[in-house]
Amino acid sequence: MEKEVIETRTARVWLGDDGIIRIVALPFTNVALESIREVNVHLKVLCKGKKNPIFTDIRGVKSITREARLFVSSEDSVNVCSAAALLIGSPVSKLIGNLFLGLNKPPYPTKLFSNEDEAVEWLNGFVEKEEF
């Protein structure tokens, strides 16, 4: 089944076959509140009222505003996210990841990874298995 990839101003978003949401920040992205809200709208549609584990590649993020960081830890975000894995690479993305963990303290399990496979393997533990 062809997955539907949503393109916003700052990221590409889709729901993987494994039940994990993927968000990949576009290169040289300055993340502001509006762009986070835009992504969140699509997340709500993809999640269909459930909470999903979310893999986010933030290696392309150049900066993030305070309001955007606060929003990611807010009620709106909590309602769609069961756990978050952040893929970091550059010193900037590493700083952003650590700041988010240390300053904003997201209310869902969050971990930083430099390897995508490890990140996905960790998130698999949060995927809700369908019961038959």
């Binding site: 040289f28 150049k62 305070r66 010193p91």
Partner: protein, 464 residues
């Protein structure tokens, strides 16, 4: 067989070596052009160009590093000087300098946000009208607000660092028991005494609360004190007034009783003389009339004195205030040049009240209103339900009014500006109204008339 050409003799080798030297010395923007022969040497040039490109994208040149360090230092200095507004540019390279720049930008944002809330909190503390003192765990003053400085007369530097007991009057601090405060955790509204810089006493209502840090250790104590000076003055005035009233009451009662007998004798004598003198001379007749009138006046004064002295609690029944007012108007001798305008609300609810006392209340006020208009005027009476649980009756005249300096005194016993009477009427009126749980107010201006408003509660139960 031909000899292979010696590669090292190829002039391009020299150029390649120069290129390598340029790269090593930091000129990462340098590139070498290809000869187009597509041989090994061209392959090396391609490799070196790619290497230069890769290194250039990842490594910051010395010049750029110095420039970025300068910018970073500027922002650090600004933050240290409490300027949290400066921001650094972030390049697309996402390298270490960019990470530091981003980190400093975020630090500036967070400090700015916390300063805004700190300023807001500071504003709240300084705007308080009560005195606020915060002490540390050794009860040394750390923070004071403006109200404290204004009321106690100190400067901030004179108080900060000093022991808390310096603002208390002698013994008051000991009696307060700070050790108990620390044990219990708080004190609420304890009356104590502060002392100002110039040794004046200020009675205060003191509340204290222990502050704890995140580990549960005592960080300090927050002390809030409300100045009770004005309240104490009012209490003292009230106490003196009540003492005065009590003394007057006793005096009035005594005088009233003592005068009743002789007055009774005079009244009887006048009555006897009227009986025995069949046809008295006009002068004698006139004199006897004056005697009767003055005896009646004296009796009224004595009744006022006794009412004031006795002031019994009201005996409440279901009464219609409108009926009481109509009755008083019909009994009061209102001159023809005074127009009576009665706007009594028919829907006004009945109230539980003592009809005799209320008759005296409204009788006194209406009589005063009539007497205030010797040259005629208008007397208006309105009644309405002022709240779901209260009615209000207003009596308005267009008479001589009450001068401002007398307004506060008109309800005091023995205050009068009339030639006749001893000034107990309004004091009794106020006592009767307050005895019903009501209130009486007056608004007046000299020459413009007066408005008396009596408010009475509507109760449900009849008392016997």
């Amino acid at each position: 067989m031909k000899d292979k050409p010696n590669v090292l003799e190829d002039p391009r080798v020299g150029k390649i070596l120069d290129f390598i030297l340029r790269l090593v010395s930091g000129d990462l923007k340098s590139r070498e052009t290809l000869s187009g022969q597509g041989d090994d040497l061209d392959g090396i040039v391609i490799g070196l160009n790619v290497l230069a490109e890769e290194i250039s994208s990842r490594v910051v040149s010395l010049t750029e590093a110095e420039q970025r360090l300068d910018e970073i230092m500027e922002v650090i200095i600004a933050i240290a000087s409490l300027d949290y507004t400066k921001r650094l540019p972030i390049s697309d390279k996402g390298n270490t300098f960019d990470a530091i720049a981003l980190g400093l930008n975020i630090l500036g944002e967070e400090l700015q946000a916390s300063t805004v809330s700190k300023n807001y909190l500071d504003n709240i503390i300084q705007s308080m009208t009560d005195m606020l003192i915060v002490v540390n765990q050794d009860t040394r003053i750390q923070t004071v607000n403006q109200a404290t400085l204004d009321l106690l007369g100190y400067t901030e530097s004179e108080l900060v660092g000093q022991p808390l007991d310096m603002v208390f009057a002698q013994e008051a601090f000991k009696e307060l028991g700070i050790a108990d405060l620390v044990k219990i955790g708080f004190f609420k509204a304890v009356e104590t005494i502060y002392v100002t810089k110039d040794s004046r006493i200020i009675p205060v209502s003191f509340s204290g609360s222990v502050m704890y840090d995140k580990s549960g250790d005592i960080q300090g104590i927050v002390c809030v004190a409300q100045d009770l000076t004005e309240r104490k003055m009012l209490e003292e005035e009230k106490r003196m007034r009540q003492e005065k009233l009590a003394m007057l009451g006793q005096l009035a009662g005594g005088v009233g009783h003592e005068l009743r007998n002789p007055l009774g004798a005079i009244k009887n004598s006048t009555y006897f003389l009227n009986m025995v003198l069949e046809e008295p001379e006009p002068e004698v007749k006139e004199t006897l009339k004056i005697l009767e009138k003055e005896v009646a006046t004296s009796e009224r004064i004595i009744s006022s004195l006794l009412d004031f002295a006795r002031a019994r609690p009201p005996l409440k029944r279901n009464v219609n205030i409108n009926n009481i007012i109509q009755e008083i108007l019909s009994c009061t001798n209102v001159p023809e040049d005074i127009k009576v305008n009665s706007q009594i609300a028919e829907s006004i609810p009945a109230i539980m009240a003592d009809p005799d006392q209320l008759s005296q209340v409204f009788g006194n006020i209406i009589l005063n209103a009539v007497q205030a208009m010797p040259e005629g005027g208008q007397l208006s009476i309105t009644s309405r339900a002022s709240r779901p649980d209260r009615i209000a009756v207003s009596i308005i005249d267009t008479g001589v009014g009450i001068p401002e300096e007398n307004l506060k005194k008109i309800f005091e016993p023995l205050f009068t500006n009339k030639a006749k009477g001893i000034g107990l009427g309004m004091a009794i009126t106020k006592t009767f109204v307050e005895g019903h749980g009501g209130s009486i107010e007056v608004q007046s201006k000299a020459g413009k008339g007066s408005t008396f408003t009596v408010k009475l509660p509507i109760c449900n139960k009849e008392e016997t």
